[in-house]
Amino acid sequence: MTKYSATVEDGIDGMREMAKGNFNLRWMDSNPEGWGQEVTPSQDGLRLENIEKGHYAKVPEFGSRHGSMAPRGCYVPDETPGLDQYTLNEMSEVWSENAAALYDEAVVRQWNSVTDIPWHKLEKLPDDIEKSVCQMCTGLTEVEFVAGDMPAQWLHRINHDFHEVKLFLATQIMDEARHMDVFRKRALANGGGLLSASPANQDLLGAILTAGDYTTASALMHIFGEGFVLTLFRQGEFLAPTEVEKTIFRMCMQDEARHVAYGVKHLQYLLERHPEREEEIHKVLDLGEQAIFALTIEPQTSEPRAILAGGGMDNIELGLARMAFIYQKQVKEYISRLKVAGLDRLPRITIPLEIPDLGLAA
């Protein structure tokens, strides 16, 4: 009578054979094309681009048909079952020529909010300034992790042959976790706390998460959303009242610029191969532009920055006038990034290129 399942019994039989010295060992010669790889590390270490040479550099236009998690470049036995998970199987749907380099850059540029921020330099700030910093941090805590949720919902759909992209997106998720956590920490760490959520944020966040495919979601998030946030981080550093916020925003700025760089090069790669998708990208950007404009003028977003720019509540109008150029800068950089990607957005843009003259004295 069989005591174990057929699988276990087969395993035990196999072990008996090995105990007699009958080994299989076919795996040792299973991948002659991929054997004997010569690798020269870069001067700062072993990068992905150092190892993805020759046989291993062949990224297929269409990812593996077997649909398993077998690593690109290995021998895949015929009986390897597919996982039936991957829907992003065409390289152009996810690829970016800088993905491998950005992954390596991301892993060596990781930082942490526990020890890399000089929290001991926090100082008591006037109430209006502390509240403004806390409101700014509330908004950023709210939006940052959409850039973690979005890649997370697509990652398991991306064919395993495009591992450079998957690896990069994994770093992005970690980056965004850190951003969410560092802004929450700052809001709570100096005697203040979280203030008001932003209803207007939800339209943009929702559009990113419900985009019909990865590329439109990426255009909306990596180029549009993160591009605008990159400028906000730069502005945050500019307005920072202490070394603590300065450091936070500088660190976050670096991370965000990597995400934008991936998005721009991905869209460029896609449009070079699928120019017919241009219209679909324009349409999702139409949505994004309307949402960001509503967000920009929402009091929770604009007023704390105006108070910080003016140096206090008494000068909020002066601060508002000073901040008008931020919007102009965001839009200009957004159009410029799309131009690099091969999309001429200027004739199609649905929001003003600059804030109309509000009659405020700068």
Binding site: D44, R109, M253, A257, V264
Partner: protein, 147 residues
């Protein structure tokens, strides 16, 4: 004078690169830097241009350029008047680091008194991607002055 402690000169930038080499550990904790930065100092009679190629944790090359056309195709330019550059360097030297109003980002963000330009936006974005390392590089001015 163009000795190693006089800004701006190739020798001065080389001294900063030497500090970077000596303090590699600090740069390693930030991550590698791969970009080409052109420092432009504007004056009434023209501009001084210095091209710095950063690779990994060091500066691969430092060149004085006659014109921006000589720069590597992939680059960004950080430009300001000589007086503004000098003020930033003096501030770093006096504090050991910039105060809140003399960081690279603070000075460049409003496009005045410094501005970052480049052949395309992705190149300009490299200035943001490596900002902390570039700041640390210029902070080396305090060490050069003290040497």
């Amino acid at each position: 004078m163009t000795d190693a402690t006089t800004f701006p000169s190739e020798a001065w930038f080389t001294s900063l690169a030497d500090v970077m080499k000596q303090e590699r550990g600090a740069y390693e904790s930030l991550g590698s830097t791969d970009c080409t930065m052109v420092v432009q100092l504007d004056e009434a009679e023209g501009a001084d241009l210095f091209e710095l190629v950063f690779e990994s944790y060091g500066v691969e090359s430092i060149r004085c350029l006659k014109s921006i056309d000589e720069a590597a195709p992939d680059h960004f330019v950080v430009k300001a008047s000589r007086a503004v550059w000098q003020e930033m360097i003096d501030n770093i030297i006096s504090n050991g680091h910039p105060d809140l109003e003399h960081t690279l980002n603070f000075l460049t963000f409003p496009d005045d008194p410094m501005v970052v330009e480049g052949p395309d936006q992705l190149q300009i974005d490299a200035f943001f991607r490596y900002n902390q390392s570039l700041q640390l590089f210029f902070n080396g001015a305090a060490k050069v002055a003290a040497a």
